[in-house]
């Protein structure tokens, strides 16, 4: 009798449900009330007619509680007790509630779709490139400069210096750099210009030697190839830089090409190269180093352009296909941004909310 009266007075309205998108290990309880309480107690029982145990005490501002101590597929009943200094009110008994294991986390559906689309695009283009489909890649301006620089070095009777970064051949930038080296070696070999390739890793050296040799053979100048010009210097960052600086100052190459992964040494290389008056062409995806290359070199391949240049020159299906797939991704992003901006203009928040990611 007393209980019913309190229920009517208290006006605490409670809802309890299986927490969505989880492994069935929790039940969500929410409540709201017309009067204010200092704190709430959450009571739980396995049977509406038997004793309820206190499982949590929440403060007066809370309106939600996750009961994470439940067994899936078992019935539970809940009561919320609102407490003030003098007053204690109870809500109605809520239940039975069961928690269940969900198969798919619907919160992440948007992420899943995005990943699936990107995967599909990349795989699709790689397959197309492999089956011999023509994929267009725009010409990269700095590549024209590359040929000019080699031409100028030839006219001046000076060498070309090629620095493939300071990382090993497991670095994608180094791999991209090697494709460009192949083209540079072809050009220098056909002109008979000397090409220096100092490397900071021994594996990078053997790979560079192999590539340069092949390129020389390809243009019919196997005699031009000189393995002594492609040397391993040292793994040590600053040690490597001072050795390369030494080549620049002593041999004064007319063209310095820095393509690959660079760290703090970028600015030391670019400075020394500049002081020798060489044409400098740089390219790296290390965005922290790009500013120094842009400021001190004549041409710079910015970020992804390094990969694009490599794909353009090598025409290798994996590189071409991935680049194409990523291009599609960029196109989609541009479209999404435009729709997003328009949706804000016309006060349509649905689209914005499609991109929510944090779990509530």
């Amino acid at each position: 009798m007393l209980l019913t009266i309190f229920f009517v007075l208290s006006g605490i309205v409670v809802k309890a449900f299986d927490t969505p998108n989880d492994d069935g290990s929790s039940i969500t309880i929410t409540w709201h009330s017309d009067s204010t309480y200092k704190s709430y107690e959450i009571l739980r029982g396995l049977n509406p007619n038997v004793q309820f145990d206190k499982i949590c005490e929440a403060n007066g501002k809370d309106t939600i509680f996750f009961d994470a101590d439940v067994t899936p597929n078992k019935n539970y009943y809940y009561i919320i007790k609102g407490k003030n200094d003098s007053l204690i009110n109870l809500s109605q008994i809520i239940g039975p509630i069961k928690s269940k294991t969900q198969f798919f986390n619907m919160f992440y559906l948007n992420l899943g779709i995005c990943i699936a689309v990107l995967f599909f695009a990349i795989i699709f283009y790689i397959m197309r490139a492999r089956s011999g489909g023509k994929l267009f890649i725009r010409r990269i301006p700095a590549l024209n400069a590359l040929e000019e620089a080699i031409g100028r070095a030839t006219e001046m009777g000076k060498a070309v210096l090629y620095v493939p970064g300071i990382m090993d051949i497991d670095d994608p930038q180094t791999i991209a750099s090697m494709s460009i080296l192949a083209r540079v070696a072809e050009k220098t070999a056909s002109y008979g210009t000397t090409l220096y390739v100092p490397t900071s890793r021994s594996m990078a050296m053997s790979m560079a030697q192999q590539i340069v040799k092949e390129s020389a053979t390809k243009v019919g100048r196997p005699d031009w190839y000189n393995p002594d010009n492609i040397r391993y210097v040292t793994d040590d960052q600053f040690g490597y830089v001072s050795a390369v600086d030494g080549i620049m100052v002593r041999d004064r190459p007319a063209a310095n090409l820095y393509l690959g992964t660079f760290y703090a040494e970028s600015l030391i290389l670019a400075e020394t190269g500049h002081s020798t008056g060489a044409i400098q062409i740089a390219g790296t995806a290390m965005s922290d180093q790009l500013p120094f290359f842009v400021a001190a070199c004549d041409f710079t391949l910015l970020g992804e352009e390094l990969y694009a240049a490599s794909a353009y020159l090598s025409q290798e299906p994996i590189q071409l296909g991935s680049l194409k797939g990523q291009d599609l991704g960029k196109l989609l992003f541009v479209m999404v941004i435009l729709i997003g901006v328009i949706s804000q203009l016309i006060n349509w928040p649905v689209f914005y909310n499609l991109f929510n990611t944090c779990q509530p």
Binding site: S287, D288, T357, C358, Q359
Partner: protein, 273 residues
């Protein structure tokens, strides 16, 4: 040979000397230039001010001696602010040397505020594994952290027992010098577990963080020594960062002159041709 030509052949050691003087002299004879407060720094300050006493701040010291100059002053300033607000500090490091540099600051500041190890602050040392570790950490601290840096089982420490999951944290403050660091806290920890992140980074990393400030994934930011100096002004403590600001100003002016001179030389040479 005229002046400009002589300048263009200046020995670099002369430049080195000029830079050294520009740093040393203002330190011996401070000018006391006023330090302005930027928004991202104020936001870090406001965030810590807004935390209720007793809240736990995870201080991740993700740097090493290489960037100690930029990040250590910020470490001290943040710790001092937290202790003053009676917040609890949970130190860990994604870089091996980070936690020892954190200890240096803790041991210096904790006694001033009568804070005790184990209840008011703890240090759980270096945690390898970067991004993947952070994902596991957010779910269950117990999986990753079993002992503190001295080898004491974490459950014997009051603060160690208090932190079981990301839900127990009021804020993550990372002092980040690179990889792994602030980016991983944002992408791997904040995105999955929603704990607010503040950061102090080296100045090199600061411009990139503005994309995350813009999206709200990062609450506030102390960029480089200047950020630390601003924070020192906010918490009213005369530290290493504010002392260095005069020198920083003079060298910047010197370098601006260098760049302008260099380009005048370029124009001059072009004119000649």
């Amino acid at each position: 040979m005229n002046l400009i030509e002589r300048l263009s052949h200046l020995d670099r050691r002369v430049i080195f000397l000029l830079v050294a003087f520009a740093v040393v002299i203002p330190m011996l004879q401070p000018i006391g230039l006023p330090i302005d407060i930027t928004k991202p720094v104020k936001k870090v300050y406001d965030k810590i001010e807004s935390l209720a006493p007793g809240s736990i701040v995870l201080l991740s010291t993700d740097f090493d001696p290489g960037s100690e100059a930029e990040l250590y002053p910020a470490t001290e300033a943040i710790i001092e602010h937290c202790f003053r607000k009676n917040l609890k500090i949970y130190v860990m490091g994604l870089w091996p040397a980070g936690s020892d540099l954190g200890n240096l600051a803790l041991n210096k500041i904790a006694p001033r505020y009568n804070k005790n190890y184990g209840t008011d602050y703890i240090n759980v040392g270096y945690r390898p594994g970067g991004a993947v570790m952070l994902l596991s950490l957010g779910k269950n601290f117990g999986d990753i952290i079993k002992v503190d840096y001295q080898g004491t089982p974490i459950d014997l420490l009051e603060l160690g027992r208090a932190v079981k999951s990301s839900k127990n944290l009021g804020l993550v403050m990372t002092l980040s010098a690179g990889d792994p660091g602030i980016l991983h806290w944002i992408i791997y920890f904040h995105a999955r577990y929603g704990v607010p992140i503040c950061g102090a980074t080296t100045a090199i990393m600061a411009p990139q963080q503005y994309t995350y400030l813009g999206s709200g994934q990062l609450v506030g930011l102390l960029g480089g020594l200047k950020g630390a100096a601003e924070y020192e002004v906010l918490v009213n403590r005369k530290g290493r960062a504010s002392i260095g600001m005069d020198s920083q100003s003079i060298v910047h002016v010197l370098l601006v002159i260098f760049i302008l001179l260099g380009n005048i030389i370029l124009l001059h040479q072009k004119g000649k041709r």
